[in-house]
């Protein structure tokens, strides 16, 4: 995890030298993903009663988040929260959580 993060961080620094999007900055994405932890546990390791997200497939999570955002997937809160993020941001968050050890 650490090595991956630093490799990603180095890439991120190179990217910030030019012009970049926030979803390309791994530490920014880590902070966004930390926003999910209130309900889904630190780094996606959920306590009882919430779906854990650590180590789940990135593609599945992205698809699910986009379905919440469009309203296609039924939910109480997730539809309202997913609409607060761009598609790229949701995909980046899914990427971070999928990279966490189960």
């Amino acid at each position: 995890m650490t090595r991956v993060l630093y490799a990603a961080l180095a890439a991120g620094l190179l990217a910030t030298a030019g012009h970049s999007h926030a979803q390309d900055d791994p530490l920014q994405v880590r902070s966004w993903a930390a926003g999910c932890a209130n309900c889904h546990g630190t780094n996606g390791h959920a306590e009882q009663g919430m779906p854990p997200l650590a180590g789940k497939s990135r593609a599945d999570m992205t698809e699910k988040l986009l379905a919440y955002k469009s309203g296609a997937a039924p939910s109480t809160i997730m539809q309202q929260l997913a609409k607060g993020y761009s598609d790229d941001q949701l995909a980046a968050i899914a990427g971070y959580l999928s990279a966490q050890k189960k």
Partner: protein, 427 residues
């Protein structure tokens, strides 16, 4: 220290810390070192302490100063008043922050902050040096606005129970001791205050207890605001459908004094209200630590912060979290929000201590559940994104919302939310 001296002291601090990290640890691979002192082990402070240790991979030394032996959650505490939860259910020890994350726990109170020397002085006599200071003490009350509450013994008799713990239990005991047919009167201060929907949830919980145990009793809500400040339609529906005749709501009741001897509330424009059990939620401001350090620069109550780092707008090197912040538009003073502030501050502190630039686009969400009965819940949710032009956090258009109706399913989610945020903050 006057304001000018204080600001000067603040800029000296940032120069010193800037020199500090070029000399020490400039390597890209994170080299963050340094010392952080966190004051206040609530949703904001405990989260910041844990995440700084995690995200610096143990390189930043973190000391958490907290006078209480354990964390008692304000969210869910209204269920203790209603009788469906106990204080033990909402209490979490601090041990894991030390054992799992290496946070140094100091059980003490802060007696003063020396921003020149970058030192926090403790009531117990010790002094803690810091490179960056995080203040997250929550709120304290503006008792000066309610003269009768300053008489000896008044605050032991008329309770706020707006900090969960002994007051929560004491208020529950007053409700249990109240004869059937009595009135429980709850006074709500003008916004902003900690936990906007909390008083209305409390009214539901007390009414639910009365329904089971004292059906001739009544809950009277006396609100300084013009209307219910959060989830208004949902609460009003609950009062009409579930607690008809049990709950009465009176807006525009601005409390100016309390006659504790006769259990009477006195208002600016309205008639006095006498009740068997009073619950006065007083007007509030940043906690004493922040106020006494001269940091409550917004309206003498709250702190203006840089939302990219949670750093105080005037005091460089000092970060402010949670209820103490001068809220951005539509941002509630909630435990969930304080936890999110804690993470933004943690990321920024680790970045700054290792000479990196903090993230430029904070986004956070708020989720807030209210129990309208022992099992049924309504929520409000929102997403807030940094606006670089306005330099504040703005609610993202089209996001957020409330429950269509109260449900048992959301009751289960609310308890799962509590388990998860307690673990995220403390475990």
């Amino acid at each position: 220290m006057d304001r000018r001296q204080f600001i000067r002291a603040g800029s000296a601090v940032s120069v010193v810390s800037a020199l500090g990290f070029t000399a020490g640890c400039a390597s890209v691979s994170g080299g963050a070192g340094g010392k952080v002192v966190v004051v206040g082990g609530g949703y904001g402070g405990a989260t910041a302490a844990k995440y700084i240790r995690m995200w610096s991979e143990g390189r930043v030394e973190v000391t958490l100063v907290e006078p209480n032996a354990a964390f008692v959650s304000c969210p869910i505490s209204n269920l203790v008043l209603g009788g469906s939860k106990t204080l033990a259910d909402i209490t979490t020890p601090y041990d894991n922050l030390g054992a799992r994350h290496g946070v140094k726990l100091v059980r003490d109170r802060v007696s003063g902050i020396d921003m020149d020397k970058r030192q926090v002085r403790l009531a117990g006599g010790a002094a803690l040096a810091y490179d960056r200071l995080i203040l997250s003490p929550g709120v304290d009350f503006m008792w000066e606005q309610l003269p009768g509450m300053n008489r000896p013994g008044a605050q032991d008799k008329v309770l706020h129970a707006w900090k969960a713990g002994p007051q929560t239990l004491a208020l529950r005991r007053q409700l249990e001791a109240m004869p059937d047919g009595g009135v429980f009167a709850i006074s709500i201060p003008q916004s902003p205050y900690r936990c906007p929907p909390g008083p209305y949830e409390r009214a539901c919980q007390v009414a639910s207890y009365f329904q089971q145990a004292k059906p001739k009793s009544k809950v009277l809500i006396l609100d300084a605001n013009d209307d219910v400040t959060s989830k208004g339609a949902l609460f009003k529906k609950a009062w009409a459908d579930r607690y008809k005749g049990l709950i009465e709501y009176r807006p525009k009741h601005h409390l100016v004094d309390v006659d504790v001897a006769t259990n009477t509330l006195k208002f600016e424009f309205n008639d006095d209200v006498k009740a068997q059990v009073l619950n006065v939620i007083p007007p509030m401001r940043s906690g004493d630590v922040v106020t006494q350090a001269g940091l409550a620069t917004a309206n003498k109550r709250w702190c203006d912060v840089d939302w990219l780092t949670m750093e105080h707008a005037q005091a460089r090197g000092v970060h402010i979290l949670g209820d103490c912040t001068q809220s951005a538009p539509l941002m509630p003073k909630s435990g969930h929000m304080a936890n999110q502030h804690g993470k933004v501050a943690a990321a920024a502190v680790v970045a700054l201590l290792s000479g990196r630039q903090p993230g430029r686009l904070p986004i956070y969400n708020n989720t807030c559940y209210s129990f309208v009965s022992p099992s049924d819940v309504v929520h409000v949710a929102s997403v807030h994104r940094y606006d670089a032009e306005k330099k504040t956090m703005l609610a993202v258009q089209g996001s957020g919302g409330v429950s269509p109706a109260a449900s048992e399913m959301e009751g289960r989610f609310a308890l799962a939310w509590a388990r998860n945020i307690w673990a995220d903050t403390l475990a």
